[in-house]
Amino acid sequence: MSTHSTPAGPARGPKGQPTITTAAPARDAAAAEALAPQAAAAPWLGNAIRRPEAGALIGTISVFVFFMIFGGAKFISAGGIASWVNVASELGIIALPVGLLMIAGELDLSVGSVLAASSITLAIVSGHYNAPLALGIVAALAVGLAAGLINGIVATRTKVPSFIVTLGMNFALAGLTLGLSVILAGSTSVSVNPDPVSKHIFGALVAGKFEIAIFWWIAELAVVAWLLHQSRYGNWIFAIGGDSDSARATGIRTDRVKIALFMGSGLGAALVGVIETCLYNGAQVSNGQSFVFNSIIAVVVGGVLLTGGYGSVIGVLLGTLTFAIVNQGIYYTGFDSDWASLILGVLLLAAVLLNNTFRKLATSNAPGTRKKARA
């Protein structure tokens, strides 16, 4: 399984990036050919366990097998699969940009309130004031981008850790959403009737079970995989997360890249806000807070290093699936659903330990090495 063969989507690059021309002379093409066979001769398994998603794959397979055994046929029936893929798709839409941000060394704890704010915005604009739904959707997505822009500007200009900046944003925006919702709509819960086209695009159920969000997730996977693993922006993201100062010294506009990534995670959260509002024909101010930690769990279980510089899109995909399987699989077993959190907690710790082990393997692959992998 390789992220390098992912189909291309339009590259959602950071806006206004400077164009850095490559200094590679023509003679280098020949060197690429000459040395390629040597690289390809490395053993397959050795390379596989050096990938960031090695631990995540083991985690996903383990929980899948576990719930297949204890959940029985219903867990892998169409309805069973839909239940965890639906959860995975909504979480995944947020976890992917949160993962990119974490690889760049920043956290976003504001996705919960951004989701609520954007979904309430859509419901108030198009439900309470009866504006066209398209206008509400644009407003909702703009709320997400604006929250990300503010997060990004504050975090990069003030040097206050993004943990604090986005935690503050999560509370501030929750308060703002609640206050404005009550003032404008007189309620903390606003309903809206999406037109058939919008309902189809954002809130439909395919075959009566599968949320349309799954397709949004797949499209986003393609775009983010391209961005991180195929475009030069991906190289900048890894460099910024690895050593921001060295990255800046090579000419990368690190602040702009980070602001763009914060806007990306705001947009992801807002998109799920729109999807949920169209799916459930309404919005509540309390929606979305579970995504704050669930997205981080998915990303970290997926092998992304909490402090940045290391991770993969395939890993985030597997981490998201693992989370969703545990979260929903428990209902197909005879166990009380209260146990799901216990499993998730233990799984998180186990996954991080496993990922640390694999990362050490990846950075100590040769004899005579002295450098320790960062925990």
């Binding site: 590679a24 390629a36 060295s246 990362r359 450098k371």
Partner: protein, 270 residues
């Protein structure tokens, strides 16, 4: 031989504190200038000025005879001045190829998009590092974290030379390394020197400096205490200069006096 980089009467103040006083130096192609000095002597500040991190308060920096003002390290790089820091400035969790081309990725058309050409990046990075004698590196997709300290220095030096550095500033490249690794880095410095690159080698290890240096400058309290060519001073003279000479002699005299009064015992720890 023409002078690549000329520093004339450079001073630097941080607020009211003067950290550099009237430094004048010349850096020539194919020569190794060793910048020696104790901690706090002003070596780091001088490097920051040369590498574009901070401007001098007064004085001029000239590249090929033209006065320049660096806006940023990137700008200094555009003038052919590259700096490699003690830990290499590389990214331990990135692959060798990715790390080598950060900020200057080779691109390949892929439909309407530009793809980062990792195959070329890996091959060039491996070739350039191997050209400096690091033969253990064969796969550019391996992580930089798997390299030793000396190999990482080699990677950073190879990168700087590949991207057209005429002046290579090495900030304490050997001080975090073991004896063998340090020797390897010194050999790499000689190789780079042979390519006609001017090297500014910052160190407080006199042995390392004497091994590769053509030209020596000793900084004490922000001033140029000595500026001489290879063979003009002995190792002891340089060591004395670096340690502030008198300070070391005073300490020795103090200990000797104490031993005289206390039956040859050394002073107890305080």
């Amino acid at each position: 031989m023409s002078t690549l980089l000329t520093v004339t009467d450079v001073s630097k103040f941080y607020g009211p504190t003067q950290v550099l006083t009237g430094i004048s130096l010349k850096v020539e192609p194919g020569h190794v200038l060793c910048l020696l000095g104790d901690n706090g002597a002003g070596k780091s500040t001088l490097i920051k000025i040369l590498s574009g991190v901070t401007p001098p308060t007064s004085g001029t920096v000239e590249v090929n005879g033209t006065p320049v003002t660096f806006e940023s390290p990137k700008d200094a790089g555009a003038h052919g001045i590259a700096t490699v820091h003690q830990y290499g400035g590389t990214f331990p969790l990135m692959s060798i190829g990715r790390s080598f081309f950060v900020g200057a990725e080779p691109l390949k058309r892929w439909g309407p998009l530009q793809r980062f050409d990792k195959k070329t990046a890996n091959a060039i990075a491996v070739r350039e590092v191997r050209s400096l004698g690091i033969t253990r590196v064969t796969d550019g997709s391996r992580l930089v974290g798997g390299l030793s300290g000396g190999e990482r220095q080699a990677l950073a030096i190879a990168r700087a030379v590949y991207f057209g550095a005429n002046v290579l500033i090495l900030d304490e490249p050997t001080s975090a390394l073991g004896v063998k690794e340090a020797a390897h880095v010194l050999r790499i410095i000689m190789q780079v020197r042979q390519k006609g690159v001017a090297v500014v080698f910052v160190t407080h290890n006199v042995t390392h400096a004497m091994t590769v240096g053509d030209h020596f400058a000793v900084l004490i309290h922000g001033a140029l205490a000595a500026d001489f060519r290879k063979g003009e001073r002995s190792r002891e003279e340089i060591t004395d200069l670096m340690a502030g000479g008198e300070t070391m002699a005073e300490l020795e005299a103090e200990i000797a006096a104490y031993q005289d009064q206390h039956d040859g015992h050394t002073p107890p720890p305080q």
